[in-house]
């Protein structure tokens, strides 16, 4: 049996039934990594020995008859922008190439408590800036469905690893679509929770007011399991929400009777692949057939969301990334004086896209430009939020495509950052508003998976999971496994 192809909940059942051991599962995934990692390149850093040691511990527990948590002994992968004590955290940036954090992110602490088996840290666009992993300071990851295509990004490594069988589940982070878009491109399920639902402590900041950690997994059930493990208030994160976390597995029901679905017309943008549009319409029809109601809604400020995002996120990033200066940690290039050292270190350590965004953000915050750019962007953000508030007065969830088209070819947009930014047009407003969104497979276009995005009210993750689960149970897109060439 190819254990690496199973979901976390299936494997948990097998562990509990003592059909397989955690070591066997881990070895199956390690074997898969050996077979395909050359081609996929999901991982920046693998933690094989650690994984096996942890698997043995979990097997001990099972042997002693101790209860195990749902993710115990199940191999997972973490995007390499979450701090792991004693294990490198690079953010796929040369500037942190050898950086080892002295502490664990809160999500890592929580997952360690759950006895996760950590397979390694996954590739991303440098500091999570990008939608393809092409901006990684190290290498580009490949889409398991077509190795010539990008896996999406910035959590491309995490999505590719899960799709390729190199991890059963993974964590990504989402600032403007960085979980949902790669999840869609790789045929996996990805959720960006409500802003503040998951602690950001230990997540290396890109844009603090937008960043959120979430799962990338094989199905909606695993999504609920990972959400159960990582959500919750954290006193170390002042922006985390102090409200009890429901058991998300309770939402896994086929039941959308009376669920009000809104279809925001502004999300069906020009240039959108018609097949994608059709798939989304078909999904809505399926849900309506099961008792949901649907209406078209208008979110008039959507078209300004992208522009506001590309001012707010770089502005925050320009400040967040100022600390990489060669003084305390990370790369240092010596210079004749401190200014020279700063310049050399940052010139060499950061890639082109990071530099572009630092410059954009610095400019937007500069005296004389602040009101015209940053301030105006904050106002637009308020309007975008208001669009969501108004829509949610009428409907329970919104349904849109996750991305306008399937994964593109590696290099296809390398010289056109604006076209690249357009891939985030459906996901960005969700971050601006701070509401939750999930992407799940809803079909294939030319053999490439595409994603359906369901957006919910603040803290409405359970409603999203219920709608997503209902849809998933009517289809089998999530059960297809990436062919990965002829492996």
């Amino acid at each position: 049996m190819e254990l690496f192809k199973l979901t976390a909940h299936e494997l948990h059942q097998k562990l509990v039934n003592k059909e397989v051991s955690s070591v066997e599962i881990t070895q199956s995934v390690l074997g898969r990594i050996d077979a395909v990692e050359d081609k996929v390149q999901s991982y920046v850093n693998q933690t094989r020995e650690l994984a096996l040691a942890k698997a043995r511990q979990v097997d001990e527990k099972i042997k002693k008859g101790e209860p195990i948590s749902p993710l115990a002994g199940i191999p997972g992968a973490i995007k390499d922008n979450m701090c792991t004590k004693g294990i490198k955290t690079t953010c796929s940036s040369k500037i942190l190439e050898n950086f080892v954090a002295p502490y664990d992110a809160t999500v890592i602490e929580k997952l360690t408590e759950q006895d996760m088996v950590l397979m390694g840290k996954t590739n991303l666009d440098e500091f999570a800036m990008g939608g393809s992993t092409e901006n990684s300071g190290f290498f580009t990851s490949h889409n398991p469905w077509d190795l010539d295509r990008v896996p999406g990004g910035s959590s491309g490594g995490s999505a590719a690893a899960v799709a390729a069988g190199e991890a059963i589940w993974s964590l990504g982070s989402d600032t403007g679509g960085s979980i949902r878009q790669p999840a869609a491109y790789c045929g996996t399920v990805g959720m960006k929770p409500t802003y503040g639902r998951v602690s950001r402590y230990g997540l290396v900041a890109f844009a603090s007011s937008l960043d959120q950690i979430g799962p990338i997994v094989r199905d909606v059930t695993d999504c609920a399991l990972v959400m159960n493990a990582i959500c919750g208030y954290d006193k170390k994160d002042s922006t985390s929400i102090n409200s009890p976390v429901p058991d998300y597995t309770k939402a896994l029901q086929v039941d959308v009777k009376g669920l009000k679905i809104g279809l925001p017309k502004e999300y069906f943008v020009r240039g959108m692949n018609p097949e994608v549009e059709k798939a989304v319409q078909k999904a809505v029809d399926q849900l309506v057939a099961l008792g949901a109601e649907y209406q078209e809604v208008s979110m008039p400020h959507t078209e300004y969301g992208l522009s506001a995002y590309y001012l707010i996120a770089p502005a925050e990033a320009s400040s967040n990334l100022a600390r990489y200066d060669g003084v305390g940690y990370g790369m240092r290039e010596e210079g004749d004086d401190i200014i020279a050292m700063y310049k050399k270190t940052r010139s060499k350590g950061f890639g082109a896209e990071v530099k572009r965004r630092i410059m954009l953000g610095t400019y937007a915050l500069s005296s004389g430009y602040y009101d015209a750019y940053y301030m105006k962007a904050l106002k637009v953000r308020t309007l975008v939020k208001r669009d969501f508030d108004r829509a949610f007065e009428k409907v329970d969830v919104l349904i849109t495509p996750t991305a306008p088209s399937p994964a593109f070819k590696i290099g296809a947009m390398a010289n056109d950052p604006l076209a690249m930014y357009m891939q985030d047009v459906c996901t960005i407003p969700v971050n601006l508003a701070g509401v939750p969104g999930i992407s799940l497979p809803c079909g294939f276009v030319d053999g490439m998976p595409i994603g359906l995005q369901i957006i919910g009210k603040p803290l409405g993750e359970d409603t999203l999971l219920r709608a997503a689960y209902t849809y998933e149970q009517q289809n089998d897109y999530h059960k297809r496994f990436a062919p990965l060439g002829e492996v």
């Binding site: 954090a101 603090s208 925050e316 100022a322 003084v327």
Partner: protein, 480 residues
């Protein structure tokens, strides 16, 4: 031309909370380098700040004591600039919505009371300390001590209401006094827990518009504030008199050389690119909490001074000096509480005690003579057990040995001789031995009497009651 000086001060004061503003690290001064640090104050990737509630409380306390309005909704912002003592290369501070606004403070200069406006008070984190291997210009390398990184600060910004270096100094002393009374800061300029920058400009007297200002940094003592500003007044006056122009710039006071030197011009001024701190939620202050803090404010220097004048009939000057520091006022109150006459207590605290403290570089809190012991001694003076002169000797002994006055008096046999029969013999002997002085006195030379008193005191080791000696001497000479 006659110029009017316009000065505004920015005072930074470290708050004496046990832990730092955004993490749990200790704020202990003088710890071994880089021991009071954690990932948060080191600005490691991924860390987040959490506001220390005590810092907000202390800032509110300061705001109320300085008659400010406390904002029910304020927020933190990032002030972006690169400097190696700032691990994140931004300082988390407050920009457009500080915790406190629109206050004032009364100062007294030349016997006149003057009200100085307080523009705002905001909270922020301190930076670390650079340790140069040599001087800043010739060091081969520089090390950073992050112990101070994240120590809480409040910045108190005054209106440009100060009109002389002397007023500036008085303002700063008053701020220090109030913060000490509030117990929110140690205000030790030598340890950097109180720091001051000044904006200063001149304008022709009688005109409204402000002249071009310079900002003076590195004013690290009260003396430096006054000297630095005096220098700057002179420099700007000379410039204007020569028909030149003051350039808007930041200057640094060089204490050793006694001059200010240009640090950077307006064109080189930092653009701090403030942005709202996205890692923190706004500070929402409950008005009832503010009222609770207000009702628990301690008595402040002005009230205490008033009370001292009313209760003890002290002069405004004496009461000001005594109440300048809370510890000194408490020392004084402890003396009077033990029945010591207020005037005597004031003279001792402002005289012998202050003199000894100054020459030993101590604060009143470190005074080796407790108020209780000093009160004991002053009671002995009052009762006539020891003379005023002996009292100084006893005080010296108390200072070094820490013993109580009674014990010293007993051990050293310093009790005053007030028995006339005991003194008269000595008087007669001294008169017999110094006929020339007697003759001088009889010839009208008053000074000769002093010599004779001295001789008697010498023989009694200062113990003879001086009044009695005087009376007896005059009596005996009169009988001759």
């Amino acid at each position: 031309m006659d110029y009017e000086v316009v000065i505004g001060l920015e005072v930074h004061s470290e708050l004496k909370t046990h832990s730092k503003i955004f993490c749990g690290c200790s704020t202990q001064f003088g710890s071994e380098q880089n021991t009071n640090v954690c990932p948060v104050c080191l600005g490691m990737p991924g860390v987040l700040p959490v506001v220390n509630e005590k810092v907000v409380e202390f800032a509110v306390r300061a705001g109320l004591a300085l008659n400010c309005e406390i904002l029910p909704f304020s927020k933190f912002d990032r002030k972006n600039y690169y400097y190696p003592d700032l691990p994140k290369n931004y300082q988390t501070s407050q920009y457009d919505l500080p915790i406190a606004l629109n206050g004032y403070l009364d100062i007294e200069v030349g016997g006149e009371t003057k009200r100085i406006g307080i523009t705002r008070i905001h909270m922020e984190e301190d930076a670390g300390k650079l340790v140069h291997a040599g001087t800043i210009s010739n060091a081969d390398y520089t090390l950073v001590d992050y112990n101070r990184t994240g120590v809480p600060l409040i910045e108190i910004v005054s209106e440009p209401d100060l009109r002389s270096p002397e007023e500036a100094k008085a303002y700063l002393e008053k701020i220090k006094s109030i913060l000490e009374y509030l117990d929110v800061s140690d205000c030790k300029m030598e340890e950097g827990s109180l720091r001051c920058d000044a904006n200063i400009s001149l304008r022709p007297r009688g005109t409204e518009p402000f002249g071009t200002k310079s900002e003076i940094k590195n004013l690290n003592s009260f003396r430096a504030v006054q000297k630095g500003l005096e220098y700057e007044v002179e420099r700007q006056t000379d410039l204007l008199e020569e028909g030149g122009k003051v350039v808007q710039e930041t200057r640094s006071w060089d204490d050793a050389a006694g001059v200010t030197v240009s640090l950077r011009s307006k064109e080189q001024a930092h653009d701090y690119r403030y942005l709202p701190e996205p890692d923190l939620v706004p500070i929402v202050v409950d008005p009832s909490w503010v009222e609770e803090i207000r009702s628990n404010l301690p008595e402040l220097p002005d009230e205490r001074k008033k009370r001292m004048m009313e209760t003890h009939g002290l002069s405004s000057y004496d009461a000001s000096v005594l109440t300048a520091s809370r510890a000194q006022a408490e020392y004084f109150d402890a003396l009077t509480a033990q029945g010591v006459d207020a005037k005597a207590a004031a003279n001792w605290v402002m005289g012998e005690v202050a003199k000894h403290l100054n020459s030993n570089g101590l604060t009143i809190a470190q005074c080796p003579v407790s108020a209780e012991n000093l009160a004991g001694m002053l009671t002995l003076v009052d009762k006539g057990t020891i003379s005023h002169k002996i009292a100084k000797t006893v005080f010296e002994e108390m200072w070094t040995s820490g013993k109580a006055a009674e014990q010293i008096v007993r051990e050293k046999g310093l009790v005053q001789i007030s028995d006339s029969s005991a003194i008269i013999g000595i008087v007669d002997a001294v008169l017999a031995a110094n006929p020339q002085s007697v003759a001088d006195f009889q010839a009208g030379k008053e000074r000769a009497l002093g010599f004779l008193v001295g001789q008697i005191m010498k023989q009694t080791k200062g113990r003879a009651n001086p009044e009695m000696v005087n009376t007896l001497l005059k009596e005996r000479i009169g009988q001759m």
